[in-house]
Amino acid sequence: MTGTVSEHAAAPAGADLVAAYRTMRTIRAFEDRVHEEFATGDIPGFVHLYAGEEASAVGVCVHLDDRDSIASTHRGHGHCIAKGVDVKAMMAEIFGRRTGSCNGKGGSMHIADLSKGMLGANGIVGGGPPLICGTALAGKLAGNGAVSVAFFGDGASNQGTTLEAMNLASVWNLPAVFVAENNGYAEATASRWSVASDNIADRAAGFGMPGVIVDGFDFFAVHEAAGEAVARARDGGGPTLIEVKLTRYYGHFEGDQQTYRGDEVARARQGLDCLARFRARVTETGQVSGDRLDVVDAEVAALIEDAARAARAAAKPSEVDLETDVYVSY
């Protein structure tokens, strides 16, 4: 189950590459579609899209399997997909349907699938890091090599719950990885203002763990850093903090006018995009052909089309669902 650092950090090849690409593409297509559907007014509530950040979720989660757990954020679709949550159920959930991952009771901010070790998107900034200390403890006591990962944003890196969790993970020497997704903003507030240190990774030392910074547009960079951290955790070496620097392509939530931003998004989309870079690298090295990736793109497009249609067609929950599932027994 566990392995050496180098083994885990080795760059993926062949089918793994295609799989990683497929997951990233699925996230992108899913989010682009939610963006469009939201504009029609048919999606209730508000949604926070992950487009642009795909290399982070996927670069981390390819190292994980179902015994491993992750906690996510309000911007959770990408983490869900990367951890294997059913895409059609997710889309239905976002539309508030009975067929959704949570029977329509959770919505975008609460998609979860415990059977996949996905502890839920989370409406509370900083809600997830404490939780993964617990799943990591469960893994540690079970002795099954299970690792737990908390994804959180630059804004969440200032929440006390996140900071406490890092210390606890070190004190208990837990198999945990803390992934700070620094997309430069918490809502409209710049991380270079709200995070008093130069980097979020600078906080690792204060909690007795290694801290690393990676380029979040580069799947392979994330993959390598996460591979080392996951391997260290599986081997009993304790937690790591990884700061992933990236950009979100859409507003904080759908509807955000984004007057606080410069032209980062345009620049990132053109020069840095994780999917474009991934494609360029694997085709240039000849590891995967462009045709193969085109097929993936088409398959993904069909899947998302299907998911959206099915979601729209599905029934909403009804009165009988209102008061069920508050307790196991009461």
Binding site: G106, M109, R261
Partner: protein, 337 residues
């Protein structure tokens, strides 16, 4: 007072007028201006709902964005209040109280008593509550009962733009910690609001509608729901008196008891979950002090004992509506001992 503005604007105007009047008033919160440290606009948001839009430019240094550190900045507002400022801190969604409740209930609320009456903590915490926007379980709660349970706090739930302005001005001038609860589905509600500054007293309920058969005490957004029910019932010959407490702590018990003395019947409408709630609080008040006038069981119309569901189909069933209020009124009117 012919001018009509929205609940959102009324709150913004209260803040602006008080900040002009008293330079000790400062506001702080996440993206309360918005754009701190960013390349674009410095006041890009004016709060997540645009309530504080425009203040940043007018009051340099007194409109403070914060990191996402509710304990730290709510605590900072409280500390600042002990040293002469009159801070208005925004806790964006009331649901986020769980990450900073200690500063509110163990610090701000208790200073005066614990310190033998020698502290004054004039802090206002503005916060958004309520269901209706399909914001799901962690962004839709009505948690004012929890704050009302805590001695040392005052709790305000304005139900109209007029009340919102007058009660916020009163809150800012008040020397005690105030939890100012804004219903998120009411920001676009429009009503007549005087341009001049005015403060509405705490602990004075508003008899929103006079009637003789049943007293309906309704809180926050439920006041308008009760109003719709009363209209329908009037057509059926049932006369409903609606009392809006306006402040939950202090509570104007007298107006409620007087009303029940006249009507003999009580329905409490509270969009929060039912257990240990304002609905039970007012029920218990009347069962204790108004028992002699009661001619029927006290009915409560509340959310069910469940988290707030996401799907519009469920949320619409979750929040009390005029039909449920009307049914409760009819139950109490039709009661035979």
């Amino acid at each position: 007072m012919a001018r009509s503005i929205s609940y959102r604007e009324a709150i913004g105007e209260a803040l602006r007028q008080e900040m002009r009047r008293d330079e000790r008033v400062v506001v702080m919160g996440e993206d309360i201006a918005g754009g701190a440290g960013a390349p674009g606009a410095d006041d890009a948001w004016g709060g997540v709902m645009g309530v504080t839009s425009g203040l940043f430019g007018e009051f340099p240094g007194r409109v403070l964005d914060t990191p996402i550190s509710e304990s730290a900045f709510i605590g900072a507002a409280i500390g600042a209040a002990t040293r002469g400022l009159r801070p208005v801190a925004e806790l964006m969604f009331m649901d986020f109280m769980g990450v900073c409740f200690d500063q509110i209930f163990n610090q701000a609320a208790k200073f005066r008593y614990m310190f033998g009456g020698k502290a004054v903590t004039p802090v206002v915490i503005r916060t958004m509550y309520g269901a209706g926007l399909r914001a799901a379980a962690q962004h839709s709660q009505s948690l004012y009962s929890i704050f009302t349970h805590v001695p040392g706090l005052k709790v305000v739930t304005p139900s109209s733009p007029y009340d919102a302005k007058g009660l916020l001005i009163a809150a800012i001038r008040d020397d005690d910690p105030v939890i100012f609860c804004e219903h998120k589905a009411m920001y676009d509600v429009v009503g007549e609001v005087p341009e001049d500054s005015y403060a509405l007293p705490f602990g004075e309920a508003d008899v929103v509608r006079e009637g003789s058969d049943v007293t309906v005490v309704a809180i926050g957004r439920m006041v308008s729901v009760a109003g719709q029910a009363a209209e329908r019932l009037a057509a059926e010959g049932v006369s409903v008196e609606i009392v809006d407490p306006r402040t939950l702590s202090p509570l104007d018990t007298e107006t409620i008891l007087d009303s029940v003395e006249n009507t003999g019947r009580l329905v409490v409408v509270d969009e929060a979950t039912p257990r240990c709630s304002m609905a039970t609080d007012i029920s218990a008040l009347v069962a204790r002090e108004g028992f002699g006038s009661l001619r029927a069981p006290i009915e409560m119309v509340t959310a069910p004992h469940t988290p707030v569901p996401f799907s519009d189909a469920l949320e619409d069933l979750y929040v009390p509506d005029a039909q449920r209020v009307a049914n409760a009124v009819k139950t109490t009117v039709g009661y035979q001992r």
